[in-house]
């Protein structure tokens, strides 16, 4: 196979830049019924917390113009069961596995990171410091450079796995957070998580989501994601996994140009469950149309002068 789609995320080499966004692909089992998931550049699984997390009451999702709100609330069966029951399934596929890590305290993140470091199938960690849907934790780290850096440092101290820190877009200056986690040793950055939003049911005079607010994802947020990736790309040297509204091969190229080394697809999986293999199949043609030979030459190649 041609190497034109190959990309690098620090120590990881991916056969193509396409992976699912955390929380939009479960642990891979469902999509594995639809297509061979080893086609993907990587697999990113749901947030894992030390203990099982029940998540938020329903309704948990609401549609918005060209987007959706979710307030899943990090529902997951907890570290132990993720390792015992969920991750082994992915060992059968030739695909790097990135596990999204969440928690309420530094200790939580450290515990999960440490335990996952001993699991063979895991290729990298993604620290979710940006979930807008849980009251404590997560987002508290994501909006301030100090705590974000401290968390990154603590996790790096207990793991040899590459650590990607997933940033929140709900901040005044995302570059500050990015440079802080880079300085603290992050191997890369994932961005963006969802924008905090709300939808209202006028008949019941209530929010549509039981959680009141939720995270906005989908095509609606693409311009914000591109802007932030471009800003952070100019300020850091570590690779970026870009995401936020990607739903086509041309979107992927936009994210590469803005500075992403790989691109995650979230919400679009719900609209078209075959979207990721379709994008991978279409990428060579799009590269050709714009006169590019490789994915890597496009990374950050946006001209702005």
């Amino acid at each position: 196979m041609s190497k034109s789609l190959e990309t690098k995320l620090g120590p990881l080499t991916l056969k193509n830049p396409i992976m699912p966004a955390s929380g939009c692909f479960g642990y891979g089992e469902e999509f594995a019924k639809l297509y061979d998931i080893s086609q993907l550049g990587a697999v990113v699984v749901k947030a894992t917390t030390p203990e099982p997390t029940l998540g938020n009451p329903t309704p948990r999702v609401a549609e918005t113009p060209a987007g959706m709100l979710n307030a899943i609330g990090l529902q997951n069966p907890g570290l132990r069961r993720v390792i015992q029951e969920k991750l082994p399934f992915l060992a059968d596929y030739q695909v790097p596995v990135i596990v999204n890590v969440a928690g309420k305290s530094i200790e939580d993140y450290v515990a999960v990171a440490e335990a996952l470091s001993g699991v063979d199938v895991v290729s990298a960690l993604e620290l979710n410091i940006s979930c807008p849907n849980v009251k404590e934790g997560g987002i508290a780290f994501g909006t301030r450079p100090g705590p974000a850096a401290e968390l990154t440092r603590a996790v790096k101290a207990v793991t040899n796995l590459p650590v990607f820190v997933k940033l929140s877009p709900n901040v005044s200056d995302i570059v500050k957070i990015a440079t802080a986690v880079e300085a603290a040793g992050a191997d890369g950055i994932s961005m963006i998580n969802t924008l905090q939003g709300m939808a209202i049911d006028i008949y019941r005079r209530r929010p549509v989501l039981a959680n009141v607010t939720g995270g906005l994802s989908g095509p609606a947020i693409k311009p914000v994601a591109l802007r932030m990736i471009h800003q952070v790309y100019k300020a850091v040297r570590i690779p970026i996994i870009g995401m936020g509204g990607v739903s086509s091969a041309t979107d992927v190229v936009e994210f590469l140009l803005a500075g992403a080394s790989a691109v995650a697809v979230g919400t679009a999986n719900f609209v078209n469950p075959y979207i990721m293999p379709e994008i991978i199949a279409q990428l060579p043609e799009v590269l050709e149309k714009i006169g590019a030979k490789t994915v890597q030459e496009l990374i950050g190649a946006l001209e702005t002068n």
Binding site: E30, G55, P59, R60, A66, Q75, F270, V271, P273
Partner: protein
């Protein structure tokens, strides 16, 4: 499940709000449709708005002609867009999804009670058809707002007895369908299984009646969905009594939409 570009064969109004859409599948479905399963219909073409697919129960499946029917109520943008499809147009369909009504435990000559309210009625039609084909006796309790809002009941009559109610008394008995069922149970009606689909209050009334029927009962639930295949955890419902160490939730899209009555909490 399979993703297919179906072709609309027919689209007919059944009431002012409710229409029936018939689509023809270009490819065979991988497995037989179970009554109670649903499809995820894409209404947006290549527009990003509206974005998400709409889950709609299969109300009929013709294996020979390889087509599916949906009976749909116009409530919002998506269902209104579906109501405007005309024959020949394409409709992107993903399905069948979820688990349907279990019927393997019923034998010829046994008796199934079907309880449907409003737009919960459509999936029961395919169930009635399947049960009738197995020579299971069917009694369908169907509740409507009014005579003008009533639909499909003649078709149920093909497969068994029908008992109708309407909120305003313009069709069948005045009142709700569970109180009619309760009365019939009081008067000695017996069955071997109960199947229900309808609005939450109806399902809750049924649950209150549960003490009066020892037979297995199955209910079909709705929940806001994103993926429809168990990957996003949007559509959870709570299990009533999970064993320690067991999951405390179920997913409406893959564990349901049909659950055994009593397995999960009936709440929004």
């Amino acid at each position: 499940m399979r993703l297919q570009q179906t072709t609309v064969l027919a689209n007919e109004p059944l009431t002012p709000d409710i229409f029936r859409l018939t689509v023809s599948l270009p490819e065979e479905l991988p497995e037989p449709v179970q009554p109670g399963q649903f499809c995820n219909l894409r209404i947006s073409g290549n527009s990003h708005d509206p974005l998400l697919r709409r889950p709609i129960s299969i109300s009929d499946w013709d294996r020979r002609l390889n087509n599916l029917k949906f009976v749909i109520k116009k409530v919002g943008r998506g269902t209104k867009a579906l109501s405007r499809l005309y024959p020949g147009q394409k409709l992107d369909l993903f399905g069948p999804l979820g688990r349907g009504f279990p019927t393997d435990h019923l034998r010829e000559g046994q008796h199934a009670l079907l309880v449907g309210g409003g737009v919960g009625i459509p999936p029961l039609l395919l169930l009635a058809k399947k049960l009738a084909a197995k020579k299971v006796k069917v009694t369908a309790f169907l509740g409507f707002r009014s005579k003008n809002d009533a639909f499909l009941y003649e078709e149920f009559a093909r497969y068994g007895k029908i008992k109708l109610t309407s909120d305003d008394g313009s069709l069948g008995r005045c009142g709700n369908v569970c109180s009619l069922l309760a009365d019939c149970l009081n008067q000695g009606l017996a069955g071997d299984s109960i199947y229900a689909c309808g609005p939450l209050p109806m399902l809750k009334s049924l649950e209150e009646l549960a003490a009066r029927f020892p037979w297995p009962a199955y209910v079909s639930l709705e929940q806001r969905m994103a993926c429809g295949i168990g990957a996003c955890a949007a559509c959870t419902c709570r299990r009533k009594d999970p064993e320690p160490g067991e999951d405390w939730y179920r997913l409406v899209c893959t564990d349901g939409p049909v659950f055994r009555l009593g397995e999960v909490e009936l709440s929004e």
